[in-house]
C-alpha cells in the first residue's frame, strides 16, 4: 500500500504560487483559508530559497494526538484526514501542528468564531461518498479516487513539488539530484539568470584560458 507524501525541491521552487492557486481553485477554498502556501527564506536576496508547505500528512500526526473530539483519521495510504461533522473548531490542532496546516474560515461554530478546521486533504476528500456533492462542499475535490495526484503537484511548472507514493517520489528526487550533480545555486543556474555581465565574462574568459592550457599540454 502506498504511503502518500509531498516532497518540495527548494532548488527548483521559483515562488510562483502556482500550487497555492491550483489548490484554491480545485477545492474552491474560501477567502482567508490557504491549504497550501509558499514560504521564502531570504526573500529578495540572491540565493533565496522557497518551499511550498501544506499538511505533511505526518506518520505520527500531532493534530491527531491533541484533538479532543478525535475527529482525525488516517487512510490506508497514510493520508491524514478529518471529519468536519465532529470538529468543534477548538484550534488545538492549529497549535500542535508544526507546519501551520490547519486553517479556520472564521465561520459559525460551537466555540468562538473560528469555524470548522480546514486543511489539505491530499486531494482525498473526506468521510463522505467519493465524488459526492457533500464531499466537495466540505472537503473539496477527491482527485485520488479519480486516479489522479494532488492538483498542486500536478500543476507545478518546475516540478519542484512532487506528490505520491513515498518510495517513487524519493526515487525521482534522487535521480534528479544525481543528474544535476551540483548543489546550491549552480544546480539550476542562478548565475546564468541573475549573474552580472562582467562576472559572466570573467567566467567565460577563465574557461577559455583553462581550455588553452589543456590544449597546450
Amino acid at each position: 500500500m502506498a504511503r502518500m507524501k509531498f516532497l518540495c525541491d527548494s532548488e527548483r521552487c521559483i515562488e510562483c504560487n502556482g500550487c497555492v492557486t491550483a489548490c484554491k481553485n480545485e477545492h474552491e477554498v474560501p477567502w482567508g483559508v490557504n491549504r497550501r502556501r509558499v514560504v521564502t527564506i531570504n526573500d529578495g536576496v540572491p540565493g533565496e530559497k522557497s518551499i511550498s508547505v501544506s499538511c505533511m500528512h505526518c506518520s505520527d500526526a500531532p493534530c491527531m494526538a491533541v484533538c479532543p473530539t478525535d475527529c482525525f483519521y488516517k487512510t490506508e495510504d497514510g493520508v491524514v484526514l478529518h471529519n468536519k461533522d465532529a470538529c468543534i473548531g477548538c484550534g488545538y490542532c492549529f497549535f500542535a501542528c508544526p507546519f501551520g496546516a490547519p486553517q479556520f474560515p472564521s465561520g459559525p461554530a460551537a466555540f468562538g468564531a473560528r469555524g470548522k478546521m480546514d486543511k489539505c486533504t491530499f486531494c482525498s476528500g473526506g468521510p463522505e461518498e467519493n465524488g459526492s456533492k457533500a464531499e466537495f462542499e466540505k472537503y473539496g475535490r477527491n482527485r485520488i479516487s479519480e486516479g489522479k495526484l494532488p492538483a498542486c503537484a500536478e500543476m507545478c511548472a518546475t516540478k519542484a513539488l512532487l506528490a505520491g507514493d513515498a518510495p517513487v517520489v524519493s526515487d525521482i528526487y534522487r535521480e534528479r539530484v544525481l543528474r544535476r550533480g551540483k548543489a546550491g545555486d549552480a544546480a539550476w543556474g542562478w548565475m546564468t539568470a541573475y549573474g552580472k555581465p562582467e562576472q559572466k565574462q570573467e567566467q567565460t574568459q577563465e574557461r577559455a584560458r583553462e581550455q588553452n592550457r589543456e590544449g597546450q599540454k
Binding site: 494526538a65 471529519n83 468521510p127 463522505e128 479516487s145 500536478e154 535521480e175
Partner: protein
C-alpha cells in the same frame, strides 16, 4: 494555657482539612480513536468501481509522469 491549646487545635484542624483537598493534578493522557463515520476507499465506487488494480495503475502512471527525465529522453 487554654488559649494556646485552642490555637494549636485550630491550626491542626485547618492543616488537616487543607490536606484533604489535595489530589494529583497531572493529566493522564489516553489516546483516543476515531469514532466518526468511515470513509470509503479511493477505488471503491465512482470511476474505478472497486477495481483496485486499475486505480493503482492509474496512480502509478501519474506518479512516474512527474519524472521529467523519463519524459524528455
Amino acid at each position: 494555657m487554654k488559649k494556646g491549646l485552642i490555637l494549636a487545635l485550630t491550626a491542626t484542624f485547618t492543616l488537616g482539612l487543607a490536606a484533604c483537598g489535595e489530589y494529583s493534578q497531572v493529566a493522564s493522557y489516553k489516546p483516543g480513536s476515531y469514532q466518526g463515520k468511515s470513509d470509503t476507499r479511493p477505488w471503491e465506487g465512482g470511476q474505478f468501481a472497486g477495481n483496485k488494480q486499475a486505480w493503482e495503475a492509474a496512480l502509478a502512471a501519474r506518479n512516474q509522469a512527474q519524472n521529467e527525465y523519463k519524459k524528455a529522453n
